[in-house]
C-alpha cells in the first residue's frame, strides 16, 4: 500500500482493533480498524436519514414579533434565495439535505452486505468512491452552527423558538478508515 498523502510505500502491516498505523513520514493515519464499525455506521446513518426527512419538511425554527408568528422549514430556508439567486437555493438544498442524504444511502447500500458477510453489492465500489468524494460537500453540521448564529442575531429583535431540530450528522470521517473495501 502507498500513503495517499505522500506516496510512501509500505507492505501492509497487521493492525489489531485498538491499534492505528501511521505513515512515518507525514503522520497520516493509514489503518485504524474498529470492531463493529459497520453496524454502528448503518444504525447512525439510518437514524440520521429519518431526522433529515423530518427536519426538511417540518418547521424547525419559529419566530414571533409583536403578535405575529412565522416559522420556517429547511426547505423554505433554502428557497429564501429567489429571483436572481435561485441557483443558490438549489446549491443550499444540495449542501444541507440532498448530498448528506445521498451519502448515507450509499453507505448503507455498501455496508449492509459487508456486515452480513454476503457478497459485495453490485455497484459497491463506485458507490463507496462516490460517497467518499461527496464528503466535503455535505455541510449539515455547518448549517447547524449557522442556526445558532442566526438565533443570536435575532435574539434582540424577537422571540425565537426551536421547532424540530435539524438532523445534524456526526463527523463520519472518524469511522471511515475501517470498512475500506
Amino acid at each position: 500500500m502507498a500513503c495517499p498523502k505522500c506516496d510512501f510505500v509500505y507492505s501492509v502491516p497487521e493492525v489489531t482493533s485498538n491499534e492505528r498505523a501511521y505513515c512515518h513520514r507525514c503522520h497520516t493515519v493509514l489503518i485504524a480498524p474498529r470492531r463493529k464499525a459497520g453496524k454502528q455506521i448503518i444504525a447512525l446513518a439510518a437514524s440520521v436519514l429519518i431526522l433529515i426527512a423530518g427536519a426538511t419538511v417540518y418547521p424547525f425554527l419559529s419566530i414571533s414579533v409583536g403578535g405575529q408568528t412565522h416559522s420556517a422549514s429547511i426547505l423554505e430556508t433554502a428557497f429564501a434565495f429567489s429571483g436572481a439567486l435561485t441557483a443558490l437555493a438549489v446549491a443550499v438544498l444540495m449542501f444541507i439535505v440532498i448530498i448528506p442524504a445521498v451519502r448515507l444511502v450509499l453507505l448503507i447500500y455498501v455496508l449492509l452486505p459487508v456486515i452480513r458477510d454476503l457478497a459485495l453489492a453490485r455497484y459497491a465500489k463506485p458507490a463507496f468512491r462516490m460517497a467518499e468524494a461527496l464528503t466535503p460537500w455535505a455541510m449539515a453540521e455547518i448549517f447547524a452552527l449557522g442556526c445558532a448564529v442566526a438565533l443570536v442575531k435575532l435574539a434582540d429583535l424577537a422571540d425565537v423558538a426551536f421547532g424540530w431540530r435539524p438532523g445534524c450528522s456526526p463527523p463520519w470521517s472518524f469511522w471511515w478508515f475501517s470498512p475500506k473495501v
Binding site: D7, V9, V152
Partner: protein, 215 residues
C-alpha cells in the same frame, strides 16, 4: 519503483495502469495538471470574493427603512449590539478564513513550483487545515438563508438576501475546488528533490515511489 498508487484505497499497481484494480478509481502517479487547476480555481475564487465583500449580503427593511449591510458591516453592527462572540464567528468565517485560505493555497502552490523553506511536513499540515476548514466559510450563506426565511413580516420587518451571498458561495466553492485539485504528493516530491539528507533523494520527480519500508 515502477509503481503507481491509488489515493482512494492505497493499493499500488504497476506503472502505466490507469484504473485501480481494487476500487476502480482513476490512477495517476502525479496529477500533472494539478497546479494549473489549483491556480485556475484560485483566481476565479478570488475574483468572486471581491463583489462578495462590496455588494450587500443582507437587506433589512424595518417599518419602511431599508438598510443594506455588507459582510463586514453586518459583523460590526453585531458587535455594536454587544454580541461580540457571534460577530467574531462571522468575521472569522467570512473574512479571516477565506483570506488565509487564498494565502495558504498560494504559498503551497509556490512551494511546489520552487524551493520552499518550509518543511514538507509543515506544508502538509497547512494543506490539511485548508482542506478541512474551507467548507466552514459557507456558514455565512446559511445564516443569511435562515434569517431571510424567518424574518418575513410584511411591513414590520423583513430580510432578503443580497447579491453578495451568491458571489460568496461561489467563492467558497471555487476555493474548495482549488484546494482539492492540489495533489499533496507533489509537496513531498519538491522536498525530495532538494533535500540532500533524504536517503532516497533520487531520480525524476514525476515517478517518485522510491522508498519501501514497513510500518
Amino acid at each position: 519503483m515502477g509503481l503507481v498508487a491509488c489515493t482512494r484505497c492505497t493499493r499500488v499497481s504497476p506503472m502505466g495502469s490507469t484504473i485501480c484494480d481494487r476500487c476502480g478509481s482513476t490512477l495517476a502517479s502525479r496529477d500533472t495538471a494539478s497546479l494549473q487547476k489549483v491556480w485556475a480555481w484560485w483566481f476565479v475564487g478570488l475574483i468572486c470574493y471581491i463583489p462578495a465583500n462590496l455588494y450587500p449580503m443582507l437587506e433589512t427593511r424595518t417599518l419602511g427603512n431599508v438598510s443594506n449591510a455588507t459582510i463586514v458591516e453586518g459583523a460590526v453592527e453585531l458587535a455594536h449590539h454587544g454580541a461580540f462572540g457571534v460577530a467574531a464567528i462571522i468575521l472569522i468565517a467570512s473574512v479571516l478564513i477565506p483570506v488565509s485560505k487564498f494565502m495558504i493555497i498560494a504559498v503551497l502552490a509556490f512551494g511546489i513550483q520552487r524551493k520552499s523553506s518550509i518543511s514538507a511536513h509543515y506544508r502538509l499540515i497547512l494543506f490539511e487545515i485548508v482542506e478541512y476548514i474551507g467548507r466552514w466559510s459557507m456558514i455565512d450563506v446559511f445564516v443569511v438563508a435562515i434569517l431571510s426565511a424567518l424574518v418575513q413580516f410584511q411591513t414590520l420587518a423583513s430580510m432578503t438576501p443580497g447579491r453578495a451571498s451568491l458571489f460568496f458561495a461561489l467563492s467558497v466553492v471555487f476555493t474548495m475546488l482549488s484546494a482539492q485539485s492540489l495533489d499533496p504528493r507533489l509537496i513531498w516530491d519538491s522536498e525530495n528533490n532538494h533535500d540532500t539528507d533524504s536517503p532516497a533523494a533520487t531520480g525524476p520527480s514525476q515517478t517518485s515511489l522510491e522508498k519501501e519500508r514497513s510500518a
